[in-house]
Structures are given as structure tokens and as C-alpha cells.
């Protein structure tokens, strides 16, 4: 706690403690803006009403279902009519909240990318062995995609393509592998990933993912469902996104093969559902900021057959 340019000793330590106590008191004293609670409540209630209007209730509810159904359909038809009006017609939008930017209506339809998924047959599990030297995954069972190395320091949309390079201790059958190495990161870290094209892949004929990797360090394996990918990136998630099902892997200083079953993957949070392998958007190997600097090799990525 000493500094060459400033007086050292107990007095300085006392000043630092005092300063931190003041900062802490200020931080503890910070309150949300007064109207925020009412605005949040109002918005959530409006969303709930809108969702109820757009939802068709299940037919077995009770005797009033026909009436409710009729009303709902009428309202939905009215809403659809309003939505489909020409653009020149002024939209009736909620008044923007004071101090905050205008948020569009939350019940806008989300296009489900899994309405027409590519489906794995379960007979050709190899995803990529990198021996072809390009960044494309192997075109087995309708799989398409390109390996990318995304880092928190990259500008949006500029994650570089990741090409394989000669691996340590190569053999005649296994010469190339992916390699990423980087400095300390402070936010969400970095990923090695590819996105399925089209962005929904049904891998339910398989039971997991296997790969070879070498550290040092730690990575998280994350086959990502469309439900954790924001709608702006082709998924179906509107809030609390980027929370994929993951499994932590402690890497070794030499190549080892790891097998991760879908059922072993967990999402953070309460009451989360298991991974649905019918709705995969991408496959990622995550390096979290707490595990940086990093130096990771990845090779021979494949699905695990039943």
C-alpha cells in the first residue's frame, strides 16, 4: 500500500481506507430513479395484457372458452389488421419513457429459425478434424458453418476467421488443429465457435460432443440453443440472452480427448431446462475472462453417437 511519490505509512493507509469507506457509502446510497418502479410495472403489465390478447387459450379450459376464444380471435384479427396497414398510416406507439429511449412493443412476432431445421441423420459424427486447412466445418449431414474467433475486444461483426495451423507433435493423419492465444480480458472473454447454417440444427440423433484440446487453462463447452441467442443475431432470445448450457473443462498441458454428453450441460440460474439438441444454433468453446491469458488448442470435434 505504499507509493514512491507519496508519503507512505499508516497515515496513507488510513486515507485510503477512509476514501474507500466514503466511496462505499456513496455506492450504497445510490437509488434507482423514483419513477422507474412504476414504469417497469406498467410496461410488464402492458406486455402481459398484450401477450394474453395474442395467446389463444387451450380449448379444455372451461365453459367460457368459446367466448374467450372468439374475443381473442377478434382482437387478434384487429391487431393483425392494424399491423398490416400501409406504412403511411401513423403507428400508435406508447409514449416513450422519460429519460429512456423508446422501446418497441415487446410482443412482436419472433421468427423461429427451427421451423425448418437441418437434421442430423446420426451416422456421420465428424464435425471437423481441420485437416483440410480451411475454416469451414465438414459438410456432413447438412452441416455448414465457419469457425470464428470472437473476442470482447473485436468490433461488432469483425470476429476473424479461424484457420487451422500445424499442431504440436503432428502425425501423418493429424497435422492441423485450431489454436487461439491471447492476453488478459476483462469482460466476457473470447470464444472459438461456428454457427450452423441455416441457424438451427437438429442433433438429437447424437448424445453429445467430443473433441481434443490442450491447455493450459480452462474452457467451457457450449452447444448453444437458439433460445439463448438474441433475435438480432438469428436466435429467439429477447432478454437475459447469452446464457448457454455449458460444461467446464480443465485442460491438460498435452492433448486429451474430452467427451461431453448433452445431459451434462447446465445453464446458470433457477429452474433451467436441459439442453434441447433439436434446436442448436452454434457450437462454441468459451474462454471466460477469469481464465485469461489463454492458450488453447482444439482438434477433432465430433458428435457422440448413441
Amino acid at each position: 500500500m505504499t507509493d514512491d511519490n507519496t508519503p507512505s505509512g499508516p497515515r496513507q493507509a488510513l486515507d485510503e481506507i477512509e476514501l474507500f469507506e466514503r466511496l462505499r457509502a456513496e455506492a450504497r446510497g445510490e437509488r434507482a430513479p423514483a419513477p422507474l418502479a412504476a414504469r417497469i410495472l406498467e410496461q410488464i403489465q402492458a406486455d402481459t395484457r398484450r401477450e394474453r390478447l395474442l395467446d389463444v387459450p387451450p380449448p379444455s379450459h372451461n365453459g367460457r372458452v368459446a367466448l374467450v376464444l372468439g374475443l381473442s380471435l377478434s382482437v387478434a384479427a384487429g391487431v393483425m389488421f392494424l399491423v398490416s396497414r400501409p406504412r403511411s398510416t401513423p403507428n400508435i406507439a406508447p409514449e416513450p419513457a422519460a429519460g429512456g429511449e423508446h422501446k418497441p412493443p415487446l410482443a412482436r412476432p419472433v421468427i423461429d429459425p427451427c421451423s425448418e431445421p437441418s437434421i442430423a441423420a446420426g451416422r456421420t459424427p465428424a464435425i471437423d478434424d481441420f485437416e483440410d486447412g480451411d475454416d469451414a466445418v465438414l459438410p456432413n449431414e447438412q452441416r455448414q458453418g465457419f469457425w470464428r474467433w470472437a473476442r470482447e475486444t473485436d468490433a461488432p461483426g469483425t470476429a476473424p476467421a479461424l484457420l487451422p495451423i500445424p499442431r504440436p507433435n503432428p502425425t501423418a493423419d493429424n497435422r492441423l488443429a485450431l489454436h487461439v492465444k491471447g492476453p488478459r480480458l476483462s469482460d466476457w472473454g473470447a470464444t472459438v465457435e461456428f454457427t450452423f447454417r441455416p441457424p438451427c440444427y437438429d442433433a438429437s440423433k447424437y448424445v453429445g460432443v467430443a473433441f481434443a484440446a490442450r491447455g493450459p487453462g480452462r474452457i467451457y463447452v457450449a452447444p448453444r440453443e437458439v433460445s439463448v441467442i438474441p433475435t438480432s443475431e438469428g436466435g429467439t432470445c429477447e432478454r437475459d440472452c447469452h446464457n448457454p448450457h455449458v460444461l467446464k473443462i480443465d485442460l491438460d498441458a498435452r492433448f486429451r480427448t474430452y467427451e461431453v454428453r448433452f445431459e451434462e450441460l447446465r445453464q446458470r440460474g433457477f429452474g433451467k431446462l436441459p439442453l434441447d439438441p433439436r434446436r442448436l444454433n452454434s457450437l462454441a468453446f468459451l474462454v471466460r475472462s477469469e481464465d485469461t491469458p489463454y492458450d488453447v488448442w482444439i482438434d477433432d470435434v465430433r458428435f457422440i453417437t448413441r
Partner: protein
């Protein structure tokens, strides 16, 4: 789940006379209670996670929206932990979406460096800029532990449960975070300040 009872217009009805029944008070919904009890905490977590005021307002709405849709999954006793962990994820999500960590860190540092040192009349805004400027030097994981432990004064077991990490990890991240935070704070305080 969410009460849709409308409040009467403020200037509509006269106050009840002795002959009339008093207006029935509606019990607040769980969402309303959560907002009343935890909004300030969620707000601070979002702000200390590096969101601007405008971003934090939107993010707070997202946090309680997620909560409103997960009421059945979240036991009462875990409500606070759920809201904090959701707030941290939503903040990380927003940072990731904006990819603004580098630029923001520089802005914070400039703002904090230009601020006068806190004295007896500690200026709230400048103190917060100084605090956030120092927090920017922590990784997201260290920052979460530091904010919850040091600023929100949660216990280590509580932080471990909230962040779904072990208590040992909480301790080690806290140690690193303290070191980095105090070093950053010292640097920010030592930098020459612009006179206005």
C-alpha cells in the same frame, strides 16, 4: 400473477363518506413487492457492472421482466439471488451487445481523473465516477464478487450461492479484485487533475 387492478383517476371520486365502505386496499403482487424491495439493489448492481444510467433503466426493466416470467420457478427465499444473478447476466449481455468495454473504460478513466479528489464535501457524481473508474480495471467475474461482497456487504456463502461458484472461488476472486481495485484507485487519485 400480475395485478391488473386499475387505480381510480386522482381527481375523480370524492372521498368516502361515513355511510360508504372505505376503499378496499389491494394486496401488492409479488412483482410489486420485489420491485419495492429489490429495485435499488438491482439498480446498483447494474450500475456497478458498468452500465450507464440510461442503459441501467432498460436493463432493470429486462431483469424484472425475466423475473415476472419465472415467478413459478423462483422460491421466495431465492428471489434476491435470482434478481442479482439475472442483473449480472443482463448487464454482461448488454456490454457484449454493445462491445463497448474498451471505449467505456477509457472514458471512465478520463472522467475519474478529471474529477477532484473527494474531500469533506464529497461530490456524489464524482465519487461514483471514481468508484466506477476503479471497478473498470477488474474483470467481470472479479467485479461481480467485489461489488456484492464489498459494496453490497453480502456474505461469502451468499455470494457463492448467487454466482453459483464455490466459496473458495469467491475468496480468491475477492483477493485479486481488492488488489486491482485499490491499485486502480490509487492511480486514479494520483493522476494530475484538470483545473477548471
Amino acid at each position: 400473477m400480475i395485478s391488473l387492478v386499475k387505480k381510480p383517476p386522482q381527481d375523480a371520486a370524492p372521498s368516502p363518506t361515513a355511510d360508504e365502505d372505505p376503499p378496499k386496499l389491494r394486496a401488492p403482487s409479488r412483482l410489486e413487492r420485489a420491485l419495492a424491495h429489490h429495485l435499488d439493489l438491482v439498480w446498483r448492481v447494474l450500475r456497478r457492472a458498468g452500465l450507464t444510467q440510461a442503459d441501467a433503466e432498460d436493463a432493470a426493466q429486462d431483469v424484472f421482466w425475466v423475473f415476472s416470467r419465472r415467478l413459478a420457478d423462483v422460491p421466495d427465499a431465492a428471489e434476491r439471488a435470482f434478481l442479482i444473478s439475472t442483473a449480472l447476466r443482463v448487464a454482461a449481455d448488454r456490454r457484449r451487445a454493445k462491445w463497448y468495454s474498451v471505449g467505456l473504460a477509457l472514458d471512465f478513466e478520463l472522467e475519474a481523473a478529471d474529477a477532484p479528489l473527494p474531500d469533506e464535501a464529497l461530490d456524489r457524481r464524482r465519487a461514483q465516477a471514481l468508484l466506477d473508474g476503479a471497478l473498470e480495471h477488474l474483470s467481470a467475474a472479479e467485479r461481480a464478487v467485489f461489488v456484492l461482497t464489498e459494496l453490497e456487504e453480502m456474505t461469502r456463502p451468499e455470494v457463492a450461492r448467487t454466482l453459483e461458484i464455490s466459496e473458495g472461488t469467491v475468496a480468491s476472486r475477492l483477493l485479486r479484485a481488492r488488489t486491482r481495485f485499490h491499485a486502480a484507485l490509487k492511480r486514479l487519485c494520483a493522476r494530475p487533475r484538470r483545473r477548471t
